[in-house]
Symmetry: C2
Subunit: 150 residues, 2 copies
DNA sequence: ATGATTGCAAAGACTTTGCAGTCTC
DNA sequence: GAGACTGCAAAGTCTTTGCAATCAT
């Protein structure tokens, strides 16, 4: 089921962390933007609307903390900044399709990698905790645009 | 077959680039270190031994160029710096296993992702040019160490 | 000769850190 | 009250850029 505020609160307290208004606000931003891939600066901008005094350092520290307690997953789309998404169970097996033409990120649900993971564990003895798969190419819309131009 | 110096020279000239001693030296470093994942700074350090006057800016510019002409592939292992490897045909279908305990990178040859790519193209209309798959976990040696400690 | 390329240093972008004051538990 | 947390500004790291001098073709 979907990750909820109460779960996050529990995880924080369990590990001796505190729930401050700033953290609460940042968590809310992610819960209200499920499925998006927010950078530290995205979060900072959204946060300033309600918490104008908040510093960017707190955003970075909170993102790090939330990643540590497995609320967020850190992503990298090669644009020079880290991005984060909520780490849901529902959400566990999806990949990102990065359009090299318009930059759009498309999600693709799938668990074919499970088979690959098992093959790897069997052949190498490596124990896998997590994986990332990204596919680079051209989305359907951009292909249509290309076709129209030629 | 393996990518050779002559191929690279051809690709450079075809696109109006020049083969300078600096570029030649950087290419040589990669050809002599096939299979390694070198950062800009790695290359810079190795380069200084033979070309002490070379600037780091040239390294960055050369890496960018070599990526552009598809001699190198840019990698990211989440350690805050870009890494590069030679983009061989032989080399095309391998994944990286990142050990979260000792940091070692293990290569795994495989083409199971081909099936996944086709599924994606069929279901979404997205045209895929390239992919990256990384697996995070614990390598066999580190597992053995863990077991020995407990 | 001519435009590409280089080295240097300065600037940029993103992220981390030190510290004194503040707040949660 | 105690230790965790915050905001600010400074510093760090990796990467990019401007420019005059130099080099490959």
């Amino acid at each position: 089921m979907a990750l909820m505020l109460k779960d996050i609160y529990t995880r924080l307290l369990e590990r001796g962390h505190k729930l401050t208004p700033q953290r609460w606000a940042i968590i809310a931003i992610f819960l209200m933007n499920r499925g998006r891939h927010l950078s530290a600066d995205d979060v900072y901008s959204m946060l300033k609307e309600t918490h104008p005094n908040n510093g960017i350092a707190t955003v970075y520290r909170t993102l790090e903390l939330l990643e540590e307690i497995e609320v967020l997953k850190k992503l990298d789309f090669g644009d020079g900044r880290a991005r984060y998404e909520v780490r849901d169970e529902d959400n566990h097996h999806h990949h990102h399709l990065v359009c090299q033409s318009c930059g759009k990120i498309i999600e693709f649900e799938d668990d074919l990698l499970g088979a690959l993971e098992m093959a790897i564990e069997r052949k190498t003895g490596f124990r896998i905790n997590d994986h990332v798969a990204k596919f680079f190419g051209t989305c359907a819309e951009c292909q249509a645009k290309e076709a129209a131009q030629s």
